[in-house]
């Protein structure tokens, strides 16, 4: 049945396009192929959801590696029995990775790993300094996004998890332990009515802020950094209980493990990981205590020089997965005015 199982001559890698895949191709895949003779077929996707739908509709072994988002997705793949078991002995560079990023993965898949963490970032609050001062942002925190004063100038990511997370923060609850979900929905409704736009991609997020269509939104740390670098006066704030996330290199069940493991190890080589990180403006998952990350990485937003990521909160995969079916569907309605 493994009609499309990768032969040892090639593995398939899917990831985000643009600068990320350029960096991957140039610093990882090409040298890897040169070294091992194994070709890396590189594909792209527009989002994690779309990718999982394609995997589900695909055939066993068709997809091998992917640059996936967050711990939550790792849990989803595990739930769909798509996880594999990495032989960590073949990935010596894993030792350089921040342990706090590895542990949640291990916990989900019962001790073994199906992925290696690769980069991380935060989804904080981005605001236009022309209209909103740093002080005001700091004072209002997540509630800045439900401030009537900015009606019509507010944005937000149209993704249910992020919306609920911020809804929880705005209703003063712990996102990983919501007591009053109705209060969260109400907050989401308030935000919906004040918002001009739910954005759906980094490109949109950047253009909305850059063109001053909106003054405040939550945003991905790397994208905001890119805006700041282009000279836009955008402030960025990780509020109390700020939302962190990581991205990992995931190996799907049915893949040629040895070849994949070798590729993962190769990609965790510091120079490779750093080059990719600089390309996408998100810090690598490498532990700054063990590896010299150079000059640029430490300037990236969300970068934790301690390598513990203690100040950040992550989606609790068990908690969110348990509510996924219900909440994602409810959000779909709430978004449309129900």
């Amino acid at each position: 049945k493994n009609a499309r199982a990768a032969t040892p001559e090639q593995v398939r890698f899917d990831g985000w396009g643009g600068v990320v895949s350029e960096a991957f191709e140039k610093y990882a895949f090409a040298p890897y192929t040169q070294k091992t003779g194994i070709k890396v077929i590189s594909g792209t996707f527009g989002g994690a959801d779309e990718y999982i739908a394609r995997v589900k509709a695909g055939q066993p072994g068709e997809f091998n590696l992917a640059h996936l988002s967050g711990v939550f997705d790792y849990a989803r793949y595990h739930g769909l029995e798509l996880t594999s078991e990495l032989n960590e002995a073949n990935i010596p560079n894993l030792k350089n990775v921040i342990p706090t990023l590895i542990d949640p993965l291990r916990k989900i898949s019962g001790g073994t790993l199906s992925a290696v963490p690769y980069d991380y970032g935060t989804t904080g609050i981005a605001y236009n300094r022309k209209y909103i001062s740093d002080d005001e942002a700091k004072a209002k925190g997540a509630k800045l996004m439900v401030d009537e004063a900015y009606k019509g100038k507010i944005g937000g990511w149209g993704e249910w998890k992020t919306r609920i997370w911020y809804g929880a923060l705005q209703s003063d609850q712990d996102p990983n332990n919501i007591k009053d979900i109705d209060a969260v929905w109400d907050m989401i409704r308030s935000h919906r009515d004040l918002a001009l736009k739910y954005w759906s991609s980094g490109a949109e997020l950047m253009s909305l802020l850059a063109e001053e269509e909106i003054y405040v939104t939550e945003g991905w740390s790397g994208r905001i950094k890119a805006l700041q670098d282009q000279g836009h006066d955008i402030g960025y704030l990780d509020p109390a209980g700020g939302l962190g996330w990581q991205e990992c290199l995931f190996v799907l069940r049915g893949s040629p493990m040895a070849a994949c493991e070798e590729l993962l190890n190769f990609m965790l080589e510091p120079e490779v990981a750093i080059a990719v990180a600089e390309g996408q403006s998100y810090p690598p998952a490498l532990d700054p205590n063990k590896v010299d990350l150079g000059k640029i990485i430490p300037t990236l937003p969300a970068f934790d020089p301690k390598g513990t990521l203690a100040s950040l909160s992550f989606f609790d995969p068990a908690y969110w997965n348990e509510n996924e079916a219900d909440w994602s569907k409810t959000f779909s309605r709430v978004q449309r005015g129900y």
Binding site: G17, G18, G43, G46, A57, S201, G202, S207
Partner: protein
Amino acid sequence: MSGWSMIRIATILVYLFLFAPVAVVILLAFNANQFGGFPIEGFSLRWFEALWNNDAIVRAFKTSLLLGLLTSAVSTTLGTMAALAMVRYDFPGKRTISTLLVAPILIPEVVLAVALLLFLQALSMPKSFGLLLMGHVVFTLPFVVLVVQARLVSIRRDVEEAAMSLGATPVQTFFEITLPLMLPAVMAGMLFSFTISFDDITGTLFWKPGGVETVPTQIFAMLRNSISPEINALGAVMVIFTIALPLIAASIARVMSARKLRASNRKTQTA
């Protein structure tokens, strides 16, 4: 003002409306900033240079072009045949088939995409460029069928009959008489299928085999990290080509015919 000049003005306005986003994209392709919006702050060719050096986009562009051309060739052929059957013959079940031929655009593409993959899964058939092509053919087919049908009904039957009475087989009659007379519709069908294929995202995302990217999927994947104006530059290059090629061709033709005319004038003068 005469009715005709009002129509002309209205037409110009509609074309301007159609071109507005194109113009914006082209302007931004020359913008030095990645996010500038208006007013544009600096002029630069860096995105064109970047485009030139961006193998991935260039490769995706070639794939899209090939896919679009093949799709339009196959789809226009099949669609024209089907339209011919629908208009020129009476047979049982015509209405059902008519609906069936339009069905591909009635189903949300993502559903069609998944459904087809499920079918392949059941057959254990790998994805391939051929599948992608046929997928595009399926959902461009209705465009061709509809537009060709609409034209075909107004083509007089008796000229076809005349051709056959002169010994042309139905097939020859089609190529000599019917096809030329419905050429505008066939060209329209080709344009439709080409552009729809060239522009498709959802179906392509699901059907493309490993390593194959089209311009839209490439762009879609780039969205997370903000689209690079290289894409704008690509659009600009294509638009300029599209406008320039026919103009160049026309002016070459004009020069040629002028030369021929002059030559023949000379001949008559000396004669």
